[in-house]
Symmetry: C2
Subunit: 383 residues, 2 copies
């Protein structure tokens, strides 16, 4: 690394995607840890669990029965955080009063889905070869496509698609949503309450904070750098440098970003300008499946545990200005909490909440460790 000194001194790094800073304290890994330990995950689950609401053929909370699906299955979340229909809310007039200035709210509607990644209850993405991750990517693409604003330039790029009945609208009138957040919480440490491999999709009439912040910075970079794309430039630079790379193939760079906050945070970035899932050809999709397999396997290998994380896709809004859609650039964030072992996590608490995110090991150190633990999944080697 050119700035080897950053391996030893406290410093801040700038995140141009969020326009924010992170404090890096490399020497702090020497601190002894006497605090809370996570329970090490036990992987003694059955392939089929009759009490799991995600397993094929089982009954869910509201009485619906899952089909005997054999790859992925999508349905409307029985406990959705946003709903398609609700009572109207009229914000009070902006009459200059303190209340109208300081107590601001707006109604949000939307739709939340759950997507299972496999019929098997006892596996995770880390156990799945790339070709069985491909159907997950295809299902994400379908759901995204079927919610696109028909006037969006992206709608032209998309193949026509229909949603399965379990994900359909019922008799509700069609609403145009603004953004779709596809994500996965994996492991109890990340608030996941069912080990059956699954992710979520929340779709809202509003553009949420994080994608909104990123979009502003992506658009600014594009304007300031004569139409260049921040994340395309960044993936190119990192692929050349190599020191933060964990894995790459012809379509994606994956590594520990310069400005990462979580100890083993990874970003996956499309090497060419891809605005959203609909821009991917078959090769891109296969390459994405390979990257997801490589990352999740390395994560599990690192501490020989089922590695918890939250993962999410950022891409173009479902509806938006042409400038917003053109400035969007497909990428995935992996935020994993573990720091030192299967049981010792990094807490982003007091200082991090009140002042600024702080990390201990550097992204370069993290990337090296993740590069070095490729190969077969440790669980399989143990068998």
């Amino acid at each position: 690394m050119p700035d080897a000194i950053l391996d030893d001194i406290s410093h801040r790094r700038y995140n141009p995607l969020r326009g924010s800073w992170v404090l890096v304290s490399p020497h702090r890994t020497k601190r002894p840890w006497q605090g809370q330990q996570e329970a090490a995950s036990k992987i003694e689950l059955p392939k089929y669990d009759p009490s799991c609401y995600l397993c094929p053929g089982n009954k869910r909370a509201q009485g619906d029965v899952n089909p005997k699906y054999d790859r992925t299955f999508v349905f409307v979340n029985d406990y959705a955080a946003v709903k398609e229909q609700q009572a109207e809310y009229d914000p009070p007039d902006q009459d200059g009063s303190l209340a109208s200035r300081l107590l601001r709210a707006e109604s949000t509607t939307g739709k939340c889905y759950v997507i299972t990644f496999s019929p098997d209850h006892n596996i995770t993405l880390a156990d799945m070869p790339a070709q069985t991750i491909l159907p997950v990517i295809e299902t994400w693409t379908k759901i995204y496509t079927s919610h696109l604003d028909p006037h969006s330039p992206l709608a032209k790029a998309a193949e026509p698609t229909t949603l399965p009945p379990s994900a359909s609208n019922g008799n509700l009138p069609h609403q145009q949503y603004r953004y779709m957040q596809i994500f996965e919480n994996k492991g109890q440490a990340m608030g996941c309450s069912n080990p059956h491999p699954h992710g979520q999709i929340w779709t809202t009439t509003s553009l949420p904070e994080e994608p909104s912040l990123e979009l502003q910075n992506l658009q600014r970079y594009r304007r300031e750098q004569g139409g260049c794309n921040l994340l395309e430039d960044y993936a190119k630079l990192e692929s050349e440098k190599g020191e933060r790379t964990v894995f790459e193939n012809s379509s994606f760079w994956a590594g520990c970003p310069w400005w990462g906050t979580w100890p083993f945070e990874i970003m996956v970035i499309a090497k060419e300008h891809k605005r959203a899932l609909v821009d991917f050809d078959q090769q891109n999709k296969e390459d994405l499946a390979e990257v997801i397999a490589e990352i999740t396997r390395r994560y599990d290998n690192l501490f020989e545990t089922s590695f918890p994380y939250s993962m999410g896709l950022h891409q173009a809004p479902l509806s938006g200005t042409n400038e917003e859609i053109e400035a969007s650039h497909f990428h995935i964030h992996f935020y994993p909490p573990l720091l030192r072992s299967a049981t010792v996590r990094k807490f982003l608490v007091g200082y991090e909440m009140m002042a600024e995110p702080q990390r201990d090991i550097t992204p370069e150190q993290a990337a090296k460790r993740l590069r070095d633990c490729g190969g077969e999944l440790y669980r399989r080697k143990l068998q």
Copy 2:
């Protein structure tokens, strides 16, 4: 509440202090919880623990021995995240290259302190009557004062003070720092690794993200509202409305802010314009001690457990422009993770990390519950 409908529908609320939004899904509390449970805290600690590095008379990691203090004790953190001195770092030239644009870093130095709240190993702020919390506030004030830029308008308001030898500079040259973050992590769930009642103080040459964001919004409000103060206006409004109030006295309003993220988040706001601890008179300090006692006791009473939280003071930077210092307004944030019981927390994970913070119960519902659980500490009633 005037907008009773917000009790039932999904909506977003605006945080004018951060300039950000939070998603509120009140109906979501009906969701059953099958995920991770926190260990319920056991309160069978000794009054003095010979192996605790914070107890009076004990030896610390680097060999220093704690004095037999009888109220608070401050010392330089043995595992500080920032140091007073380190090798120089020269950022590469801004030569227009991708690297100079996308791989930005800056050096940060600083000083980290630990402050114990009491010699007793087995109590917390919730167990302490207001008059024993007062010395904590006085110690915070001393540390803050002794780091003030001598040219700051605040330095004039401050009484001269000296630091105890355990917190002194040694022979290092005096550095002017930019910001001091005073905070407490309480409970294992919030990354605290020693139950002895204590907080931390991190002081840096840089202005961290959160106070920087708040300062920008405080300054903007002041300019746009003819010199009015956002948080003074807000405390006045909330004190009149009452529905989000948990406790108030002549100097402070404390309640669940309109835009809170954590289920039982509380803000304490000075009712008059106080820029920092040095602006407080004796009555203000006693009132602050009372507020802290009232909040921490109610928190413990809510689920009859030692309630985990991160808490932090926001006030004027140690050095800054006159405009920054005048726009600053003393307040405290309490971010507690519990949602439903002593063992079930709210996870701010996937959607919250990737898209937007999301909360289940409304601030009005939370405030009512906290208002209703005042009175004696549950542990004392059980005895």
